[in-house]
């Protein structure tokens, strides 16, 4: 048994464990244990990865395991990780761990809730470890579907509508994606020989440019929809607004990263020429995303909508950076994914906790919460500051890396869109401060808020986990950045051959 498969097996075992539990308490404990193990495993993976690199292991992917699955289609169950996947896995395990604690108090069908949640996380883990497009896509869909139930059953507001919309739009995206992947597959052996789904194998061949031109947009948009690419992002506000806390966390925190990761690992890596040719279209779209999401967030009144639009903006930045196709920007893209994952998860966790107390998410109905719940207030401010890119927290590192990377292009077009993207930092500040001001500061508007309690232990645990991670990246980004940067090298090598 290879170490990577454990990331899929542990969730499955946890689900089985939950199935045999008797009451909500046991369910929670089992989930926490399972995901705690997962977190430890992820930490170990990071350690193992770094020490393997230290020891001079230069392979593109480490801890590889490869089992033939469907021999005649050359489908394998192939796993392996590089620094990027390791980082994403670490992110996921942190967010899931925090998510479990953030949903500690789910009362309605707790068993089913945790099962779905953990299944979802299993899908995400599987996605990140996959080296085979087939299994990658499989895990991708596994991750999307439990979302429907999670939002539909445990959500709030127009949950059925939101759940359906989210599911269908993401599935629509995966329609494009599937065609793209099949296109890559069928063109993976232009010189004859067996077709393959294996990313590393495909990366070695040059897919004919005509095919690339056709399948790059499909693949990119397919992943882009999950990454909230304008104008396919509208599932995100509704979906996030209706989803229960942990689901919003996981979805915005991790699932949307599947989009960015996929766009990078599949669309750019495997179809570099077309990516280079067509990137301008998507650069325009993503830079619109960045600014548009931020502007959209300014006028929202619902906390979750604000955050959803902010995610559109931040995830837009991820795709934007990926499309810049140089090492720095891509490095930034990955950092931004992790950073956004953590901070948006923190945001949603906090929003959930606040909502659980105030029973409203409308900022104009709240105010002065800092006084009643200082812990949550401070955490919210930290999340906000991370979101607007305060140095010392993760957002800053990521955004700066992206901006400096994007600015390395000498032509006017790239420069202008970079500056457009950069300007989002001001707009972000506007909406973040607006929320923080309206929500936490000022006088308390509603008397019954005076009796609200501050965070409970599990909420604190959830919050602190995320804050620590955010701060850790913000303060010491170099190891992460180096880890990612080294792993980007194969892509960069490939790109430098193509792009003069």
């Amino acid at each position: 048994m290879d170490i990577l498969s454990l990331f899929v097996i542990i969730p499955i075992l946890t689900v089985i464990g939950i199935m045999i539990t008797k009451d909500a308490k046991q369910t929670r404990v089992i989930s926490a244990i399972g995901m705690g193990l997962q977190l430890i495993l992820a930490a170990y993976l990071v350690y193992a990865y770094l020490s393997a690199r230290q020891a001079g292991d230069l392979a593109e992917m480490l801890f590889r395991a490869d089992y033939v699955w469907y021999a005649n289609l050359n489908i394998h169950y192939a796993v392996g990780v590089d620094g990027i996947s390791v980082a994403m896995i670490a992110l996921t395990s942190i967010v899931v761990f925090a998510g479990i604690f953030a949903s500690w108090q789910v009362e309605f069908l707790p068993k089913e809730f945790f099962i779905s949640l953990i299944l979802l996380s299993g899908g995400v883990f599987g996605f990140f470890i996959s080296l085979d497009l087939f299994t990658m896509f499989l895990f991708y869909e596994v991750a999307v579907i439990p979302m429907y139930l999670l939002i539909g059953i445990w959500g709030s507001g127009p949950k059925e509508y939101a759940a359906m919309k989210l599911t269908l739009m993401l599935m629509g995206g995966s329609a494009l994606l599937l065609v793209g992947l099949l296109g890559i597959y069928t063109n993976s052996a232009p010189d004859g020989g067996p077709l393959t789904f294996n990313i590393l194998e495909i990366a070695k061949v040059n897919i004919p440019i005509e095919a690339q031109r056709m399948f790059f947009p499909m693949t990119f948009v397919g992943f882009g929809i999950l990454g909230a690419l304008f104008p396919f992002h509208t599932w995100s506000p509704d979906g996030h607004a209706s989803a229960p806390t942990a689901v919003s966390m996981l979805h915005a925190g991790v699932l949307m990263k599947l989009g960015g990761y996929g766009a990078f690992r599949v669309a750019i890596f495997l179809l570099p020429e077309a990516a280079h040719e067509l990137s301008w279209i998507f650069i325009i779209l993503t830079s619109i995303s960045v600014v548009y999401g931020a502007f959209g967030a300014i006028v929202q009144k619902d906390l979750k909508y604000i955050n959803a639009y902010s995610s559109v903006s931040h995830c837009g930045l991820v795709l934007f950076a990926v499309l810049m196709m140089n090492k720095t920007a891509m490095d930034g893209a990955i950092l931004q994914m992790i950073s956004h994952g953590l901070m948006t998860a923190l945001f949603f966790a906090l929003i959930g906790m606040i909502y659980g107390r105030t029973h409203t998410r409308m900022i104009n109905e709240m105010g002065g919460l800092m006084k009643v719940m200082p812990f949550l207030g401070v955490a919210y401010v930290i999340a906000g500051l991370a979101s607007l890119g305060l140095p010392g927290l993760s957002g800053f590192v990521a955004e700066m890396t992206i901006f400096f990377g994007a600015f390395q292009h000498v032509d006017v077009f790239h420069r202008v869109v970079t500056i457009v993207a950069v300007s989002s930092i001001v707009i972000t500040a506007v909406y973040i401060l607006r929320v923080v001001g309206a929500l936490l500061f000022g006088p308390i508007k509603n008397d019954h808020f005076l009796h609200l309690e501050d965070a409970k232990w599990f909420e604190k645990l959830s919050t602190v986990t995320l804050i620590l991670a955010i701060a850790a990246i913000g303060i010491a980004p170099f190891w992460l950045s180096t880890m990612i940067g080294d792993s980007l090298q194969p892509i960069i090598d490939k790109l430098t051959v193509i792009i003069p």
Binding site: N72, L138, A175
Partner: protein, 473 residues
């Protein structure tokens, strides 16, 4: 005739024998004992299924009129498995007071239609194909009208027999023209003499229309929904799964072996039909309230996906079609199984009636959800693999846009499958279906389906085996 020949066509022979045994049993049992026919027939059929799985001998009999290869052997076994599940699901229904006097008839009719299908699959000439087809159709009408005092059932019966009669007339017209232009009804001979000349194309199109009727491809599908809705649930599941699967099997064999020389005609034809089928099926399914009708339209849409595998005309395509049907049998029978269990317990078959089902009958809801997800092609259940391979087959022949349309349609289909899931899991109901115990045979049947849905995808051996016996043009 020798032992080898017997083994060669044992599916049909054994089935004929047990049909006769059931008939004899029916005649010799007195009225009180007749209920035992259920167990006898089910047991016999189970044995038949097992016998079917014994190692195969390939070969031709009756001057190439009957062909048996590993592929056909597999197809028949798949059908047997499906029928076994259907039989298990039907037990409760047959025990009901209405059916007291016609228990064995049900088995006789099911078995004889199955014989027809198996001969059809094994046919080596259009004559056998036609006879098999009719044998699979005519008694089916009686099955559809089995609850003859229900208006819907009676209507289903007449709609099926009349539509089928007309479609087989058109099919026959096609066959005559084939015969007229080639001088033979034997597949091997026809295949040699077929070309893209107008009359032969016309002949092919008439023939195809008749086959499309059986698989319910748009625009030859219109009977499907009415008949599926009217027929008793178990008959519907039999129709929608076994009958459709068998027709799809023979269609792909005929297209690949007999009409391979005019693939430039039937590929675009299938392209059009496939797009139409998926789209129309889905559009109609969206607004259905009756579960049977709903599944009928969904199964029409599924038929459109099957064409994706055929259209590639490769051995991957054939593999994926057989594989898909195999998976589809479990998925659809799972769904129909739940519908039938609920129907016979509560007489409810509307989607609204399913509101809040999860809270009273969680297991049934879960099975239903799994089955629907499998139909929708959601991983990790088997339906995903089925669809994926179909798409791969079409894509490897370059039909990317078709795949795209298909995947979009899969998304639409997901929408309406999710409506059912929503009803069961999310919607609240004042009067949900109360908790009840499912009877044992149905439980076994559902368990088989769940196992199938869960594990077929994971064990690539099945696909590998199918690949080894498949062929392309």
């Amino acid at each position: 005739m020798n032992l080898d020949s017997f083994l060669l066509m044992r599916h049909e022979m054994v089935l004929t024998i047990i049909t006769l045994m059931v008939l004899i049993a029916d005649l010799s049992f007195n009225e009180e004992k007749k209920i035992k026919v259920i167990w006898l027939a089910t047991a016999l059929f189970a044995i038949n299924t097992i016998i079917g799985f014994l190692p195969n001998i390939s070969g031709n009999l009756f001057g190439n009129m009957y062909k048996n290869t590993d592929l056909q052997w597999t197809m028949k076994n798949i059908l047997n498995l499906g029928v076994l599940v259907v039989l298990l699901q039907s037990v409760e229904w047959l025990k009901s007071a209405d059916n007291k006097y016609k228990i064995s008839e049900f088995y006789l009719l099911v078995f004889s239609t199955l014989i027809g299908m198996q001969f059809m699959i094994s046919s080596g000439s259009f004559l056998m194909l036609y006879l098999g087809l009719e044998l699979a159709t005519i008694p089916m009408a009686a099955l559809a009208a089995y609850d003859r005092y229900r208006h819907h059932s009676a209507e289903a019966g007449i709609k099926l027999i009349l539509s089928a009669a007309m479609s087989s007339a058109v099919l026959l017209l096609g066959i005559t023209l084939i015969y007229g232009t080639t001088g033979s009804t034997y597949f091997d001979v026809v295949a040699l003499k077929y070309a893209n000349i107008p009359l032969q194309t016309l002949a092919f199109i008439f023939f195809f229309s008749g086959m499309a009727f059986k698989i319910s491809l748009v625009p030859f599908h219109l009977w499907t929904a009415d008949v599926y809705e009217g027929a008793p649930v178990n008959v519907t599941s039999y129709l929608s799964v076994i009958s459709k699967g068998a027709s799809a099997f023979i269609l792909i064999i005929v297209l690949f072996t007999v009409f391979n020389s005019i693939s430039m005609i039937w590929k675009p034809l299938l392209y059009i039909i496939s797009v139409l089928t998926m789209t129309i099926g889905n559009l109609f399914a969206i607004r259905q309230q009756n579960m049977k009708r709903f599944l009928a339209f969904s199964s029409i849409a599924q038929a459109g996906f099957i064409l994706l595998g055929i259209i590639g005309a490769s051995s991957i395509g054939m593999t994926s079609v057989v594989y898909f049907v195999f998976v589809y049998i479990f998925s659809n029978l799972g769904a129909f199984g739940v519908v039938s269990v609920i129907y016979y317990k509560t007489q409810k078959e509307n989607m609204d009636d399913y509101n809040g089902l999860y809270h009273t009958n969680p297991k049934l809801s879960l099975i239903m959800m799994l089955a629907l997800f499998s139909l929708a092609g959601i991983p990790p259940v088997a339906g995903y693999f089925g669809k994926f391979f179909l798409f791969t087959a079409a894509a490897s022949s370059g039909y990317y846009w078709l795949v795209f349309i298909a995947v979009l349609n899969a998304t639409i289909s997901l929408y309406y499958y999710l409506l059912v899931v929503k009803a069961m899991f999310i919607n609240k109901s004042e009067t949900p279906i109360a908790y009840f115990k499912t009877d044992v045979p149905a439980k076994i049947a559902l368990s088989i389906c769940v196992l199938g849905i869960f594990f077929i995808g994971f064990f690539s051996i099945i696909y590998q085996y199918l690949e080894s016996i498949s062929f392309g043009i």
